[in-house]
Every structure is written in structure tokens, then in C-alpha cells.
Amino acid sequence: MSHVASIAELFGGGLAAVWYAGSREGAGDVAIYFSVQSSDDGRWSPARAIVTRASAARELRRYIKKVGNPVLFSDAEGRLWIIYVTVSIGGWSGSSLNVTMSEDEGRTWTRSRRLTLSPFFNLSELVKNAPVALSDGGWAVPIYHEFIGRFPEMLWLEHRGEDIVATKSRMSAGWYGYQPALTPIDAGRALALLRDDDAPRTVSMARSEDAGHTWSAPERIDLPNPDSGLDAIRLTDGRLLLAFNDSPDGRENLRLAMSVDEGRTWSRIATLVEERGGDFSYPFLIQARGGDVHLVYTWQRKAIKHIVFNPAWLDERWSRTTR
């Protein structure tokens, strides 16, 4: 089993990816794996376990039942960061978030630090999608809560000296979608696209006009969602790109949709994979400095796939769709 991959561009060129893998989801042998892709020959290095149940228990000084959902990102100083989930009691709704950081492109990692984000036994804080860098050097991380209520939240991270300062704000309450994909429009405005587990099974979208501090109530958009993770990014030319399962009841395909009007309308531009009975899920998108778009996703819960497409291909797909 391999699941929940994320990818980041390295400061000196090349890419790095993390995901979790083991005999089955939540099993004791599940670990978070790390691999780098050389910018020279494009080969991915052999996967290396960087967080195991035992290492997390040692570093966090407590019992850890399972690890999961790692999200990798790089900062302007060339450091790599991973936010990942640990569970001590119960299932995924018993999750807490932890942070670790590398200053040598993933060769070594700092001791993990637990973030306290919930007043109720610090339960049920999870992450799936990439953060957005803030102008003050901090990060806006889209996270979500799923104990009793299931709702999206914003985690605000700052790195002050040796300390990591974490605070949190609510995106919406109750049961209005989760696993937000955060997409900035400009310095003040942003969109969040949300996974949905409720009828009629469509993607939901919330808007912020104050840099993510407050959000509109999520509204459904005209794209289905089979209660599955999705991701969206803003391309350097301003268009929005969404990777999602285009079905209300299955993960048999993975498609790209594009919006040129800040998310008001979306057009499907490409099918990346489609297979009857298949399971293609949890896409994660980035646009590298050179303009190429990188997508990683879970392939049949057995492997992590990496797809690259350049802006010219996106332009060609977009013009074919709108012709």
C-alpha cells in the first residue's frame, strides 16, 4: 500500500516527494518515505523511510499507533518541511499534526515537533494539500478537522529562530467539506476547493477576500466529487488548474479541469488516467520554477505515480476544449 503523496521543488534543482506506505493503511509497519529526483537524469532515488512509528514515538516522546498524510514543501531558504499526521488512539479522526524540517535537502531531518491545535485532547487535525507561502515568511496551511464535526481550517505557521509558532483559524463550521486545496488569486484573495462526503457529491468552493483569515460559506460547483481528495493550483499565468476524480461515486479516473475566471467556471481539459475498477486518488500539484507542472497521485493504492506536463501542453489542451 502506498498513499497520499506530495512533491516539492528543491532549491538547487530537482524534486523531492514523500508519501506513506506499508502493508496496509494504518498498519504498524507504515512509514513515511522520501525520494528525490535528480535534475540531471530524471531518476527517482530509492525510497527511504524518514518517519516510522518508532521514530515518531521516540521524537515525540509518546506512544504512536500510526503515521500518515505527509505534506512536503520547500521554503525560500532552501529548507524542506514535512507536516505529517500521527495517531495515538482511535482512527484517523484521532490524528494530530507534527512538523519536521531538513536543511540538507532531505538527508537529515530535525526532531519532529507536535502541534497543539485542538482543545479536545488535541484530536483530529489532519492535512492533505500544500501550504501557501506568505509575504512575511510564514505559511498558510490548509488543514481539516473530522471529529464530530468535519470542516476545513487554516493553520498559520511561522518559523521564529528555533521555534515554530502555530496558530489556527476556522474556514467553516459543521459538516461543509474537508481536505481544502488552497489557491491564492492575488495578495488578498484566495479560493479553497473542498472534498465532499455528502450528497449530491460535488466539489465545494469557499472564497477569502482577506488573505485567508475569513472565508465565505462553501458553495457547490459543477464538478463531481466521490468523497475523494483533490488539489488545485494557480498557474503563473493566472489560470487555475484542478486535479480531481470526475465521478460522484468512484475513483476510476483522474482528470484536469481549468478555470480562467477565478473559479467561477471550470472546463475539463484532460483525462490523465481512466480504468474500470481502478483507484486513482489523492492528486497533489505544483508548478516548478521553470513552468512545468508536476502531479503525483496514488495509483491503485499500490504505488505513487508522477506526471509532468508543460505549459504548452496545457495551452493545447485548453484551446482544444474551448475550440
Binding site: R62, F121, S169
Partner: protein
Amino acid sequence: MIRDFVTTFFSAVCPWLALVLCLQRLAEGARARRGFRLRGAGLLVLIGVVALAVMLIRIESVAIARWIAAVNANFSVPLTAALAVIVYERAFARPVFFPSDWTACWSFGAIGSVALYPLALGLSSVDPYEWGWRFSPLFVIVAVITGWLLWKQNRFAWLLLLAALAFHLRLLESTNYWDYLLDPIYGLVSMVALTRQWITARAPRRVPPGPL
């Protein structure tokens, strides 16, 4: 590194005190039945050392104190201090808190929990937990309550002052003021204690409120 040590230490104080209290009760039972003579400071030191040894027992390479921290690493200051008061009162048979102090302690825990947890778990779009990260109306409200209790010479005010001091010194893993004021166990204990007080008050023979 020092902060890690401090937060690890303080996460263990409340469970250690709870264990001390349990052992005190056992010792009182043993004294009544078997003429166990040790009492006062001597008994408290012995029980404290035994409780500490228990907390340090390792299971699967993790000390019992850290197993407890896996469930809750942020025991609130009022709960921890209230346990310390109860342990002291039992050890030395000297009251530290008067009935009105206990009523304030349990009322704060119960009302605060009702105000915080349902909303923080998603009942509405307002999340009061956000108010604990930085200066907010929460700090003003707690300061007013503390001032009012001090004016009334209610000793629970000292526990709120200790919570503010602990927050300032970042003694817990959490950096949110709410976690220094409340925790779910304190909330539950407070509701049980208030219910007991209410039942006792309705009973024909009145008994003044006190510790659990």
C-alpha cells in the same frame, strides 16, 4: 531543548498528582484497617516517590507518564493546582480551599467547558479556541473573573493567576491560553463535582461543598 524538558515535565505533574491522591486513599484505608502509622509529610514523601516510580515504568520503551501524554499532554493549570490542594489537604488535614473556593473552581471548569468544546468541535462557525492564541476578549474576561474573585477573597483566583503565569512561561506543550485554563478532564470532573454539590444541597442534611 529546555522547553522540551519543561513541557514534558509539566505534562506529567497532573497525572502524578492524581496517582498520589489514589495512593493517599489506599494508605488511609490501610491505616484504618491495619494500623499503618506513617502520616503527614513522611507519608506524602513516600507516596510521592512511589507514584514517581510508577510514572517512570516503561512499557514498549515509553514511560507511563508519556503514555498518558499520548492521550493528553496539556493538563490545565486549575486542574493540576486543584489536585495539589486536595493532596495537601489530605496529607496535613489542613483546609486550603473553603467551600466557596471549590464552588468557583468547579463552576469555572464546567461553564468554560460548555462554552469552549461544542463550538471548537464545529457547532458553529465561531471558534472560541482562536481567542487563545493571542490577546483577545478571552484574556480580558479571565482577567475580570480573576479580579472579581480576588476582591471576593476567593482562593480559586490564585489558580487563575498561576494559569496566566504558566501561559506566559509556556510551561505546556500548547501555546493556546485555553489549554492552560481548561482541559476536557477538568471539565468532566467539574460537572461531576457540581452535580454532587447540587444533589447534596437537595438532600435533607446539608454538607458543605468540597473536593471530590
